[in-house]
């Protein structure tokens, strides 16, 4: 039983190392993809796309575009909810997605 466990553990070590390598490669690929200038111009959705994903459709949909490392804090005071946004790398854009 001891030898069987030892063998299994070495297989699991191999599997984990392979996963680590794939995760690192995929994270790098994704970062290069999203930072590519051409892709940046084409990585958008239309307001209609967004409307189609909201269920039920007649809701208020607020869109927030913030610079990297913007801090969002959601706290639960006694009544209702509070969301605070704090940026240190530039202004934050907030707008409502039109219904039509």
């Amino acid at each position: 039983r001891f030898q069987k466990l030892q063998h299994e553990l070495s297989e699991l070590t191999e599997a984990e190392e392979k996963l680590d390598e794939l995760i690192n490669k995929s994270s790098l690929q994704l970062r290069l993809l999203t930072e590519d200038t051409h892709n940046k111009k084409l990585s958008y959705i239309r307001c209609q796309d967004l409307r189609n994903t909201v269920d039920p459709p007649d809701q208020i949909v607020m869109v927030i575009r913030a610079p990297p490392e913007t801090q969002m804090q959601v706290s639960e005071p006694s009544e209702g909810y509070q969301i605070s946004l704090k940026s240190s790398n530039g202004p934050i854009d907030v707008f409502l997605c039109p219904e039509d």
């Binding site: 680590d20 995760i23 958008y44 239309r46 208020i60 949909v61 607020m62 909810y81 969301i83």
Partner: protein, 147 residues
Amino acid sequence: AQECQDLEAERKRRLERIKHKQSQLQELILQQIAFKNLVQRNRQMELQNNRPPPANTVIHLPFIIINTSKRTVIDCSISNDKFEYLFNFDNMFEIHDDVEVLKRMGMAFGLEAGRCSADQLKIAKTLVPKVLQPYVTKMAQGAINQL
């Protein structure tokens, strides 16, 4: 017997870590497919229309959305330089990021739910490197839910 117990415990820990890393890799694969699919769709649309869509009708990534009922009263205060916002809601809301919106738009071909047709699976596999294609096939067969 003690050494066997230690190995058993180590085996359990490792299996947990591997499970977590598999779902991390699946999420990265989904995001890569969704992003490439979105860029391809927009490129085709712009070629079709011979021009990009009007700037005020598109939302560039990255973004997050907050959706709430129309009856919700939202009290909003903004600093002059727009570096700080404070919102007070009197009703519940949901917050989602751009990846979630892309998935809901079908940009990941339903792989996140293990619902992907054979044709879509073919397209999805062309959007990832060869070494990741077996993972895409497994996701199409519902591997995510098993995790």
